[in-house]
């Protein structure tokens, strides 16, 4: 673990150089420990792939004290590893023609049938590595190498809400309409960000996510819609 200064009120903790389930679990443990040690001195935590930004109130403490607590939380983690309950969130996806403009491109790229791509996408238990880019945007990884596909050369101006997408070995659900360059393979009718909901998101960093296919009827009954899919590009 390396701790770097990020700014006047923030330290960056690097847990590893690469992404792994063990690192994600460790980040979650340290985050929990820090929240209780720091109390109202803690302003924000931003867990990501292999790091965590710790934002503190510089008028109530200094970076030396926060460093010490980060190290303490880390040492406690090593004693309690293995206790964590894994939270698995299942998300429905409609992989139909109307919602998968890039599916055939991925299949061609991989030398697979579109049905095989859909099956492979569902077989992996993904990890929520980070949340950011937009409210409710969860970066999930890692996809099977067979369906890993580079971003589009030209990003779309508007990707519909709920779009399920792949970029390299990452996959995600767009929580709201936005520009985006990921390859679209389906649509998830479950809202990924609801400002009025408690909680506002169905997943949090560190959770596991599994996608499962639904048919058109189910998609519509779960609140899915095709309205916005006609006008993409």
């Amino acid at each position: 673990m390396r701790i770097h200064v990020a700014g006047e009120n923030a330290l960056m903790v690097y847990f590893a150089d690469t992404v792994s389930d063990a690192t994600t679990a460790q980040i979650q443990h340290v985050a929990q420990g820090l929240s209780s040690y720091l109390g109202d001195v803690l302003i924000d935590l931003v867990p990501s792939y292999a790091s965590m930004l710790v934002v503190f109130d510089p008028l109530k403490t200094d970076h030396l004290h926060v460093r010490k607590l980060i190290r303490h939380a880390q040492s406690q983690t090593q004693n309690t590893q293995g206790d964590a309950q894994e939270n698995v969130v299942r998300l429905p996806v409609y992989y139909g023609n109307e919602t998968s403009p890039d599916l055939s491109h991925i299949a061609q790229n991989a030398g697979l049938t579109t049905q095989q791509v859909i099956e492979i996408h569902q077989q992996t238990l993904y990890r929520v590595y980070a949340i950011g880019f937009a409210p409710g945007f969860a970066y999930l990884g890692e996809t099977d190498t067979r369906i890993a596909t580079p971003r589009l050369a030209t990003p779309r101006k508007k990707v519909p809400k709920g779009a399920v997408a792949i970029a390299d070995r990452q996959t995600a659900v767009y929580p709201a309409p936005s520009p985006g360059g990921w390859n679209l393979i389906g649509c998830c009718p479950t809202p990924m960000f609801d400002p009025k909901g408690t909680p506002s998101m169905p997943v949090k960093a560190g959770d596991a996510v599994q996608f499962y296919a639904i048919d058109k009827e189910e998609f519509l009954s779960l609140g899915g819609t095709f309205d916005v899919w006609g006008e993409i590009e």
């Binding site: 200064v5 990020a6 700014g7 006047e8 992404v19």
Partner: protein, 319 residues
């Protein structure tokens, strides 16, 4: 009934802001909040509010509104002509308005962020513990958007007309076209060679046209980093990211919370407020300081803010 204001013209961009949205990065929500927190705090203090009271941030100017009921307010921030019913009124001072009075802001002549705070504060329901508007996220204010003509904003309670306060001229922030940004080296600073760092701290950079609440893109000598990108990680307020083209971007209140560009460090918040008052064509220079020095500056600034007394002024009739 509580007094209210009716927007006759929102000007270039008027947003409801409180001190900012904290503790919500875990769902991807950014900080928001006033771009110049010092001017924002003074506006609230001049009308007897605490620092986290909802007020209006107007960029450049042009805001015009009509009041219903007795309303006490104060205008701070960028230098701008303020008028009530066409009559010039001072900034950095409590003003008393009554039903049908109209307040109008001209366009900033120095700086660009103007704050209008109201005694008791605007009555806005918080979202994720804050009323700060972040247009990109559609969160905050009453609608998640900038103020629109016709919007009616209620105040929290009736204003007691009476004491008027002024911040002495000697204590007011000064806005310039050129500022020094003290930077705490950090993040990937070790991936910028000594030579590249010297270039960065030696040269002047210009504020480009791409400067908004999300970030200030600067132009100047290109700075090279050993690495092109990193695994996406959390971005703190004031972080200076250097993409492949070598032109630094200072990330402001509405920045995205994670990103994968290398960063050389972060600007001291006290100086970030000065940067936020700059417009395209203004210039900045960076100067390195240690985090301990930064903490000292923050503590001193807080002390000075608390020690600074306001002076009483006699309320004048504006009609």
């Amino acid at each position: 009934m509580s007094p209210s204001i009716q927007i006759l013209n929102p000007g270039i961009l008027s947003l409801i802001q409180d001190a900012g949205r904290y503790g919500q990065h875990s769902v991807g929500l950014t900080t928001g909040g006033p771009m110049d927190p010092l001017a924002f705090k003074w506006a609230n203090r001049l009308v007897g509010n605490d620092d986290n009271t909802s007020a209006i941030e107007t960029t450049i100017g042009g805001l015009k509104f009509k009041v219903k009921g007795d309303v006490q307010l104060a205008v701070t921030g960028a230098e701008v002509a303020v008028s009530v019913n066409g009559k010039p009124r001072p900034q950095w001072q409590t003003l008393n308005l009554s039903t049908h009075d109209e307040l109008e802001l001209g366009y900033a002549t120095q700086g660009c962020r103007i704050y209008v705070a109201f005694a008791s504060g605007l009555n806005i329901a918080p979202q994720f513990n804050s009323t700060s508007t972040v247009v990109r996220e559609g969160i905050g204010g009453e609608t998640g958007k900038g103020l629109q003509t016709g919007d009616e904003l209620a105040l929290n309670s009736e204003t007691v007309k009476g004491s008027c306060w002024q911040l002495p001229e000697s204590a007011r922030p000064e806005y310039h076209n050129s500022v020094t940004l003290r930077l705490i080296p950090g993040y990937q600073d070790h991936h910028f060679s000594r030579h590249q760092q010297r270039m960065f701290f030696y040269h002047e950079y210009k504020v480009s046209d791409l400067c908004d609440r999300m970030g200030y893109r600067l132009t100047g000598p290109s700075i090279k980093c050993d690495i092109e990108g990193i695994l996406s990680e959390g971005i703190c307020l004031g972080a200076v990211q250097v993409p492949k083209d070598g032109q630094p971007i200072v990330l402001m209140n509405d920045r995205q919370t994670i990103g994968g560009y290398p960063k050389i460090g972060s600007v001291l918040s006290l100086d970030l407020a000065k940067l936020a008052q700059l417009t395209a064509g203004c210039t900045v220079k960076f100067e390195p300081i240690t985090i301990d020095h930064a903490h000292n500056e923050l503590a001193l600034a807080q002390y000075r803010y608390r020690q600074q007394a306001l002076v009483t002024v006699t309320p004048e009739e504006v009609k």
